[in-house]
Every structure is written in C-alpha cells, then in structure tokens.
C-alpha cells in the first residue's frame, strides 16, 4: 500500500478545512500519515483520524516561522520512512514547507493540482490551465512526489477511521538565523469569510475607481455576502490582497457569485468558475465572463448596481 503524508495546519483549534480535504483525498490513495502543525488538542487529533489518518506526526513550532524547522525535520523522516507522496495545500505555510522540503530533498513540486493519482512508477496530477477551460495532466517520477492541491478541489468528508497513533515530530532547535513570529494580528472583519461564504459579490476594473468599491460593500452587506476582487484592482491598491479571488488569490465556490465590472481574465475565472450560480454585469458584450454566467447583464455597473441596491433597500 502506498504511503501518503498529508500536511495539515491548525486553524481555530481544529484542523483547517483545506487539511481535511487533503486527508479525504489521501485516504483513497494509500495509508495516511498526517503532519499536524498546531497545538494539537484531543478533539483536533481525533478529527484527523476520522478523516483518514492512521498516524499523526504532531509538530508545534512555537514562535518560529514553521517552514524551515518543519521541512528540516520532515526531510530527515523522509530519508528513513520513504513516503510515496507528500500532499500539501496551495496555501501560505503549505507552500513554504513544500518549497523548502523539495529543495532539501532535490525533488520537484507539482503546484496547483486539482486532482492527484498514484500509478505505476509515479504520481499523476491534473492542473486547470487557461482559466480552467483546459486540464493539463502532469506526471512526476520524483520520490517522494510533493504535490500542492488547490483548496476546494474535493469536499472534506469524515470516513470510518478510528483514533490515530500520535507521535511528536521533533523540530530542530531554531538557530540564530531563524525567522521568528513576534506578533499575530487578526484583522477585524464584518460578515462571512470569503472562502466559505454562500454569496460572494466581487468587483473588478470596470468599477473605475477605488471609491466605487463601496457599492460592492453595500450590496455585499445587503445580501449577507462576502466581498471579493480581481487581481487587477488589488494590484491597483483599491482593496487589500485578502479579498483577491483567482489563481493567485482565493478559490471560492459559493451558491451565488456576482461579478461586477469583471471582464473574466483567466486568472480570475479559475478562482470562481465552480460557483453554483454566476451573475455578471459588464459593459463589454464580448467579455469572457459572460461565457460562464447564468445571468449576464450587458450594462454599466454604475447604473445597474445603484438600482439593484435601491431595489434591495426598499424591500
């Protein structure tokens, strides 16, 4: 049976949703060991078991930036345990660990995978390219193969796994040159989180100015929605990076996605095309966003949005 390691990070005292998605995938591929980074309370560890981990290697990096010590410790374990596949998410710390670990081991990383399969002599992965209109199938003969999977590629579902065998992953002493986390800030945020919201309202370059994003915020509040943005307006500094939806931002799959003033660049589409219902408002009738919209409104966001907001106001 193949040996699969899965990197799972703790979030609010529980395994992250992304981590549970990865475990759900991994248990269909082989025997699963979870590399768990966090405090590791009993309930959290039990959840790793129900989602498919037969073993857990628990690491707590304290105030060290985890990537260097965790990848150093994992590299040593790889030498003795020889896993076939190490699965991580397309997420901040996952990418850091994957990059450092791969460079240490002299193997590649398959990034942005939407699916992963183990076959004869290696790993095969799917990657959505060109805004998700096509899928590139990649193979790697590296051992272990290191794969970063995009969030929401598969739903997290508990299986029938029992309590995992838990051991501690000893991290090397952080040397004088190590990076330290000296403060953690939680940004105050109203309403639902972008990644989990049932309704998302996003704005793009068609808004014309940073001020016009207020319309998006207003509509978002009315609908109890999270607000998102394209890379173009994040790069322009209109809204913070945390709101970015797309290839290099967040992947969302809400019930309703409203795209206002968004033309539908490949980079954006790949992050939202799996939304259940897509409503698009854009001036350009040929904008690519219309090819995936359930309701496409060819019109000026500066006219349509105020009327929509007013109509919702009067309800």
């Amino acid at each position: 049976m193949a040996s699969v390691w899965v990197f799972v990070q703790e979030e609010n005292n529980a395994p992250s949703t992304l981590g549970l998605e990865l475990l759900t995938k991994a248990r269909s591929l082989g025997d699963v060991t979870a590399i768990y980074l966090g405090e590791g309370g009993d309930e959290a560890l039990a959840m790793l078991g129900t989602h498919g981990a037969s073993k857990v290697l628990h690491a707590n990096a304290g105030d060290a930036l985890p990537s260097a010590p965790v990848s150093a410790a994992l590299a040593e374990m790889v030498a003795t345990e020889s896993p076939d596949l190490i699965l991580l998410g397309q997420a901040y710390t996952d990418r850091d660990v994957a990059g450092r670990l791969a460079a240490r081991l002299g193997v590649g990383v398959l990034s942005n995978a939407s699916d992963v399969r183990l076959g004869n002599g290696g790993v095969e992965t799917d990657h959505e390219i060109f805004g998700g209109s096509q899928i590139a199938v990649a193979t790697s003969s590296d051992s272990p193969a290191i794969v970063l999977m995009r969030p929401k590629s598969i739903p997290a579902e508990p299986g029938d796994g029992g309590a995992p065998e838990v051991s501690t992953l000893e991290l090397p002493e952080a040397g004088a040159s190590a990076a330290k986390v000296t403060e953690s800030h939680v940004e105050e945020r109203e309403g639902p989180q972008l990644a989990d919201a049932a309704v998302v309202v996003s704005g793009g370059r068609g808004l014309g100015s940073a001020e016009a994003f207020e319309m998006i915020e207003k509509l978002g509040k009315q609908l109890g929605a999270a607000t998102g943005a394209t890379r173009a307006i994040v790069d322009s500094g209109w809204v913070p990076y945390a709101k970015q939806v797309g290839q290099t931002g967040k992947t969302v799959k809400p019930d309703i996605y409203i795209a206002a003033g968004i033309s539908g660049a490949m980079q954006h589409l790949v992050g939202m095309k799996d939304s259940k219902t897509i409503i698009a408002i854009n001036k350009d009738p040929d904008a690519p966003i219309f090819s995936i919209a359930d309701l496409g409104v060819v019109g000026d966001v500066h006219k349509v949005l105020p009327k929509l907001i007013e109509a919702l106001e009067s309800r």
Binding site: E11, L65, A68, S71, Q90, A91, R95, D96, G99, R100, A102, A103, G106, V107, G108, S111, N112, S133, Q134, I135, A136, V137, A138, T139, S140, D142, L148, S177, A179, K180, V181, T182, E183, S184, V234, D235, Y241, T248, D255, I258, A265, M266, Q267, I281, P285, F290, I292, A293, D294, L295, G296, V297, V298, G299, D300, V304, K307, A311, L312, R315
Partner: protein
Amino acid sequence: MKVVVCVKQIPDPATPYTLEEGTNWLVRPSEQVLDDTDRYGVEMGLQLAQANEGTVTLVSMGPAGNNQGVRQALAMGADKAILIDDSELRGSDALTTSRVLAAAIKEEGFDLVIAGTESTDGYSGVVPQMIAELLDSPALTYATKVETGDGSVTIHRQTIAGYDVVEAPLPAVVSVTAGVVEPRYPTFKGIMDAKKKPVENKTLADLGVEASVNQKVTEIKDAPERSAGEKIEDEGEAHLKIVALLEERKVL
C-alpha cells in the same frame, strides 16, 4: 546593502497564451514583458537600497528575447542585471529554476533577496522558498510590508486571519505580495539610462548547475464545459432580473 531582486520576463498576459505542440511548453515570443508582480519587488528593492546606501541587482532566468522585460526593471532604477538564458533550461521546473537563480545570487553575493510570491505565467508559487533553502537563509514570505533594521529584516506576513509580524537577521529572502509598495513608472531618463546599464549573460555551465527535470505534462484535455445562461442588455430594468434570480435562489 546588497539587494538582489528576482524578475521574470513573461508573454504579455493581455495576449492569449498557447502551448507548443509536443512538449506542451508555453510559447514565448521574442517580445516579452516584465511580470507585473515583479514591479513590486523591484520597487521594494529600490526603496530599501536607497535607505541603506545599497545597490539593486536583478537576476532573471528564461529566454531573453529582446530583453524588454529586464530593461523595464532597469528603467525603474535597478543598477544591473544578470541573465541566464540557456536552451537547456527550456521546460524547467521550479527546482531547476531555483537552483539556477540561487547559484547566480550566491555568486553575486547578497544581504537581501526579494521576489514576487508567484509568477503570472507559471504560478508554481514555491521558487522564493526553494531559493531560501538553497541559500540556507530564512524565507520571509507573502510580505505586505517590509522594513530593514540593524542587520535584520521585519515584514508583515499575510495570513488567512490577518497578518503576522515576522523578523529575521540578514541575509534573508523576502517574497512580496502586490501592494507592498506602489511601483514607480520609469521616467524618460530612466528608460534612456537603462539602455546603458550592464546586463551580464550567464549559462548553466558558468553557474555549474545541471538541468534535471522529472516532471512533464503528458496530456492537455478540455475541461468539462460550463455553458452560458441568459444574456440581457440593460435598458434600465436589468436589476429587476437580478432580484428575481436572487429570489428564485432563495437568497432574498
């Protein structure tokens, strides 16, 4: 302070990308542009170099073409560029790319390496971390703010919940998000000066790195298509259609 900024020349994202028959590599025209994401790294590098009486060296790997992308970064104010354009590097993965960049950076010497978090054309998103490992340096990643102090660097590191303050001694590698600083537009003088700035060309052999890639794209297939629904022209009443759909989907 010696600042090295990693930059990449990519096909203009405004033009449709195509893949080469057989290899499935991205087709790269001779005229490429500076990856927009890298403008933030260049600007950050210029500001830190200025504050610390330093220099900014650009390091770039890939088909140079007419080298317009690197000239764009030089025009912003970088002092010089090192370019690794070797036909053996075609189809390189992130590890080979990182080995090449790290070797060039090591040879050049550095206090601080700056890179974007991922390129717009390849977006593997692991090159800065790999470079850091190969240079045996800390990797301070996803920076939304960067400050240097007495032999150290401090950043705001983007997290899911907000940001962490992360600190490490120099030398170090920092990856910056878009929006970390407002990139300057090259001035006319900058563009003229860029033409005279040194661009050093290196090969794999010069750097003593071997290209070895264990990954390949074996197949390209169409994704299950999502069909378009209704498209209407707004004549003043389109918002009512949206309200009706939101009602139908039970959002209202």
